[in-house]
Amino acid sequence: MADLRTNFLGIKSPNPFWLASAPPTDKKYNVERAYRAGWGGVVWKTLGEDPAVVNVNGPRYGAIHAGDRRLAGLNNIELITDRPLELNLREITEVKKAWPDRALVVSLMVPCEEQNWNSIIARVEETGADGIELNFGCPHGMSERGMGSSVGQVPEYIEMVARWCKAATRMPVIVKLTPNITDIRYPARAAKRGGADAVSLINTINSIVAVDLDSFAPVPTIDGKGSHGGYCGPAVKPIALNMVAEIARDPETFGLPISGIGGIETWRDAAEYIALGCGTVQVCTAVMTYGFKIVEEMIDGLKQYMDGHGFSTIEDFRGLAVKNLSDWKYLNLNYIAKAKIDQDLCIKCGRCHIACEDTSHQAITHMVDGIRHFEVKDEECVGCNLCVNVCPVDGCITMEAMTPGSVDPRTGKVVPAQYANWTTHPNNPSAVAAE
């Protein structure tokens, strides 16, 4: 059976599944329950300076739901821990002592002065924690006080604080990045320049999750008003994967260890982050939805997947997708695919037809010889994949690559065997003549 043990910056954990710094890791009680359930590590909910912050006393969360009220995205306006620093440090010490084989990283957020960082790091050192994560991500509340994402949005600050922290501790330093920025590579590069051992991303995304149409206030609503919160959950995964990928393939940050965060609910989500180079993954919304037990499925599913592919350790497949990340301009324009509908699996809902008919290329029938029948017209199909995405039956519609040498009925041209991309395409005004 596959070995899930992970060594991330020297921090060992029995599996790559960590809990992200968030409400589930705010205190000993929760963290020990998580460890008992099988979580490989936790990033303790962000510590700040005393006196502790206070939270709103009304709703902190809002959500959007998919079918069957499945929680698709969660938004929060909770701040960093609102418990006294001393209490958190004591519990961290106790937990680390009781659970030496689990990763325990402590998230930190203090004002942007070297003395403040030095002071809190010194206290965390005493707990025996495995590492620290600098919270430069929270987009709400703390950012109004010059912390969280207001630091993460300025690469120079990231570099500066990372450098202070590295100088102040023996512990590995992870910089947690905010996605609320135009180009994620800049803060990642800054973290690396500052000496950070790794980055973790993404923190939550600026969001208003809903507007109450009776009170005309944002959700969650506190006494008739609302402020933006941080968005997370399954809906943000594609955004997070892209940001991870950008860092993984950027020449300046290539090889920088990454802890992936954002919408991870299943082993498959985790495996995708690992394939993009992440050494560990961090989970929050999924456990806030289903409880800690889901890690059993994640551990088992990942092992089964790895066994099926002959990967004996995480390192065997970590980063395998990075080399396939490309710019659009290098995609092979001679690769031609056509949708194909498996008539045995088709339930005849017609969604592929109407999607194609109304919004795409009129390439799917709905009636053949007076009978309800959905079939791809190869002479119209551009291979866009929309039908695959709207089909309710997994695997019913597939994209089939055309064999080089055959004739594409849409263009009447032979499918070339050689690779050709936009950079050399005759329609490209800046095309470079092929050598």
Binding site: I347, K348, C349, G350, R351, R372, P392, V393
Partner: protein
């Protein structure tokens, strides 16, 4: 002595037995179920609905919290959408067509969603629709059953003045007098009648029978158009010895008594009941006999399960309720003791080589305290044979696609016309189509 009596159950059991056979969906259930709809293109469910309700659209509206809009989508196609949600054999119509059957053998529960939306609407609105400006035209509708009511409502919306003549004491037709009590609880048939009439412009003249109190010629003279929604008036006879014996009842009349009785404990039912027939009436009678406390109820049908007029789902409902269904038996004689029924003699039947139903000579006797005849109803043409003759076909009124009869100015629909399938939803479609044709004619 045959054991026929009322009040077989404890008082509390009547309420329980005659409550909703399919309890309505709650708000949460409705939203969960609405999520299952794929919003199909050219939706098979809509195509399977005789009234072409835009089912994916109303379900989508339920899913977005627009339940009133969902009901309006339903009523715009079928003003009796509330009753249809209760009585339609959805398993052979919309739900049979649902693509979820192909996906996982489990259709979206369209009927219950329709009921959810229409109940929501009826709880909040006295009527549906806004009438067009008055046209000054008058239309007579004969029969206040589903066809007549649907026709009248559509005509009223178009601005015409409608008078419905109903032979019975109140409107509703089979919805009020025919279908099983547990399918239309809480006096729903009358609530729906009130809802339909609420649009205005419709007058009901109850107790006015065609051929007795009014004539077709008279209606033609007094109105700009006439719609006949007469239904079926006569019950087929068994044609066997002993049919007149005490304890042999007509299932249609027995159900009617049951429906009209506010106290179900007053309805007499045998300890051993034999229901002869294979259609919906047979099933409705048998199940209700069981629900009234009969010990043994048997439906005896001369052919097999596949040939029964009652859908497989209805057959199963009967069986779940403890009714036995005996196939391939034809009644030969009602056996009496004293002056009352004691048993029914059946001959086993079979198909011969030519595929015809024949007796096998083997007999079977079913002991019975009560026998219910449910072998179909017939159209009685007498009332419309009134000087001018409305052409019949296969014993019912012949109509064209627009529900026009052979007589100019006279339309017909529902069970009284050729091709009628004894379905509320089909009667509604007939009535509505006739109304649109009448409107087009009057507007020409």
């Amino acid at each position: 002595m045959p054991d026929i009596s009322a009040g077989r159950l404890d008082a509390a059991d009547y309420g329980k037995n005659f409550s909703d056979v399919h309890p309505p969906l709650g708000a949460h259930e409705a939203v969960v179920e609405s999520d299952r709809c794929y919003f199909c293109f050219d939706a098979p469910c809509t195509n399977a609905c005789p009234t072409s309700i835009d089912i994916p659209m109303f379900i989508r509206k339920i899913g977005t919290g627009n339940v009133v809009g969902a009901a309006e989508t339903i009523f715009s196609s079928n003003i009796l959408g509330g009753m249809c949600a209760r009585v339609c054999p959805t398993e052979t119509l919309c739900e049979e067509a649902c693509v979820r059957n192909l996906a996982e053998d489990k259709p979206v529960r369209i009927g219950l969603l329709q009921r959810y939306a229409t109940d929501h609407y009826l709880d909040r609105h006295a009527a549906y629709g806004v009438r067009a400006p008055a046209t000054g035209r008058k239309v007579a509708v004969v029969g206040a059953g589903p066809a007549g009511l649907a026709c009248a409502h559509e005509l009223a919306l178009k601005g015409h003045e409608v008078t419905i003549f109903e032979a019975r004491g109140k409107a509703g037709g089979l919805n009020e007098f025919g279908i099983a009590a547990y399918k239309a609880t809480d006096d729903f048939a009358q609530r729906e009648v009130d809802f339909i009439l609420g649009v205005g412009g419709i007058t009901v003249e109850a107790g006015k029978a065609l051929g007795r109190d009014i004539t077709l010629a008279g209606l033609k003279a007094d109105f700009d158009a006439v719609f006949l929604g007469l239904g079926l008036q006569a019950v087929n006879a068994l044609g066997v010895e002993g049919e007149e014996t005490a304890g042999v009842v007509d299932a249609v009349r027995w159900i009617e008594n049951l429906r009209q009785s506010p106290d179900k404990s007053e309805i007499e039912v045998g300890a051993r009941v034999v229901v002869i027939g294979g259609g919906m009436t047979a099933v409705d009678a048998a199940i209700q006999a069981k629900k009234l406390g009969a010990d043994d109820v048997t439906i005896a049908y001369r052919r097999g399960a596949a040939e029964m007029g009652a859908s497989p789902y209805e057959q199963e409902l009967a069986q779940v309720n403890g009714v036995r269904i005996l196939h391939w038996v034809a009644p030969k004689a009602v056996v009496s003791e004293g002056n009352a029924v004691a048993a029914v003699d059946f001959e086993r039947t079979a198909l011969n080589e030519a595929g015809r139903l024949v007796g096998t000579g083997r007999m079977v006797r079913l002991a019975a305290d009560q026998v219910m005849k449910a072998i179909g109803q017939t159209f009685v043409a007498g009332p419309i044979e009134d000087g001018e003759t409305v052409a019949l076909e296969s014993g019912r009124i012949a109509v064209d696609e627009d529900m026009r009869t052979s007589l100019a100015g006279v339309w017909a629909g529902g069970d009284c016309v050729r091709g009628g399938e004894d379905l509320t939803v089909q009667a509604v479609d007939h009535g509505k189509r006739a109304a649109l044709s009448i409107h087009a004619t009057l507007s020409a």
